[in-house]
């Protein structure tokens, strides 16, 4: 009897095997990464700036947007607000400080009419350190709104960039960081 089996199942099996393996590897990497960094908790401090340099609504918007973004990433076990007493007893706590470098208040109408002028920019110096003062991340980050959206959208962009920076920073596990600090 003639066996007329198509070679398609064999080909499919040949593709599906490595594809499945790739999926497992890809899904496993972030999970391992998340497990490592989730051991850290983080406390966010509001933007430090000279009086009158950054309007209070922008300062609060950066703070609130950043808290929301950090909680959204799931990178940290807990995200604490500034002054939260619950954070006092947390062993692996990172403290996020921001210092204002530059602020330019744009104009939404100007942006919409000219498309090149009127951008709102907020630039901060980001510093993430452990409780013992050991600095783990230090970088200048900027948030800008160039074309569409209200001025406060710049704070959302800044918060998103800070969250991305922390995600890409590959923080060391708490034990390793403590050993390095000693």
């Amino acid at each position: 009897m003639k066996q007329n089996r198509s070679p398609l199942p064999a080909t499919l099996a040949g593709i599906a095997g490595p594809a499945l393996l790739l999926c497992i590897v890809c899904l496993g990497i972030p999970r391992t990464f998340a497990a490592e960094t989730a051991a850290w908790s983080i406390q966010v401090e509001p933007v430090a700036s000279d009086e009158g340099q950054l309007p209070p609504d922008f300062s609060m918007a950066v703070y609130e947007d950043l808290l929301a973004q950090l909680a959204k990433t799931g990178q940290f076990q807990q995200v604490y607000r500034s002054g939260d007493h619950q954070a006092d007893s947390v062993p692996n706590l990172l403290i996020l400080h921001m210092t204002l470098l530059n602020f330019e208040r744009g104009n939404q109408t100007e942006r919409a009419v000219t498309t090149v002028k009127g951008a709102t920019k907020v630039q901060v110096h980001l510093k993430v350190s452990a409780r013992d003062g050991n600095t783990l991340v230090e970088k200048d980050v900027q948030g800008t709104v160039r074309l569409f959206g209200e001025n406060l959208k710049a704070t959302y962009a800044l918060a998103k960039h800070i969250a991305d920076t922390l995600r890409d920073a590959s923080l060391p596990p708490p034990t390793a960081a403590k050993a390095a600090g000693q």
């Binding site: 609130e64 939260d84 007493h85």
Partner: protein, 181 residues
């Protein structure tokens, strides 16, 4: 018997009477507007929650009112309050906002030869914003921002300060700053 012709002219038909009626109606309208304004100040201000309130979505519209207990926000399906004692600071500022929403934004993009940009010139309005810094029971710092029609934020700030809320910039100074601009 001669018939007596009655004066059938309506008093309104006279130009003087019409002018008088117009004057009275405009006076009544202004009185009504003033009464409506007072009601708004007493019962609350239509405001938009920009961010920061627990349990209220961003850009949610509602009524902002000052009660003896604190600042209340009543929105459709969302309600939140900030106690006066927990308020660390109150700020007011001004900003511009695009009117017309997403519909107008899309419409502007559809206008040929850059006509949408011209439309942008006329589709913005100035708004007041009220920023509050407050702490919860754990001492955690929160910030809430509301946007409202022009001239309403200073009144709300004054009411909060009168109730005992702390404000690093006095109400008068902030009003003066606006006048300078």
């Amino acid at each position: 018997m001669p018939t007596v012709l009655e004066n059938t002219r309506s008093p309104i038909s006279s130009p003087l009477a019409a002018a008088l009626l117009l004057l009275i109606s405009s006076f009544c309208a202004s009185l009504y507007a003033q009464a409506a304004d007072t009601t708004t100040a007493a019962s609350g201000v239509r405001a938009m929650h920009v961010l920061g309130l627990e349990g209220v979505k961003r850009n949610h519209h509602g009524t902002l009112s000052v009660q003896p207990s604190g600042l209340n926000f009543d929105g459709k399906g969302a309600r939140s309050a900030i106690a006066v004692a927990s308020i660390q600071d109150v700020f007011t500022s001004q900003d511009t906002r695009q009117t017309g929403g997403k519909v107008l934004t899309v419409a502007k993009m559809g206008v040929p030869y850059g006509g949408g940009r011209v439309l942008s010139l006329f589709s913005h309005e100035k708004v007041d914003s009220l920023t509050l810094e407050y702490r919860d029971a754990n001492g955690a710092l929160h910030g809430a921002i509301f946007s409202m029609p022009l001239g309403q934020a200073a009144a709300l700030k004054k009411q909060l300060v009168d109730l005992g809320a702390h404000a690093s910039i006095p109400v008068e100074m902030q009003t003066d700053k606006k006048d300078d601009k």
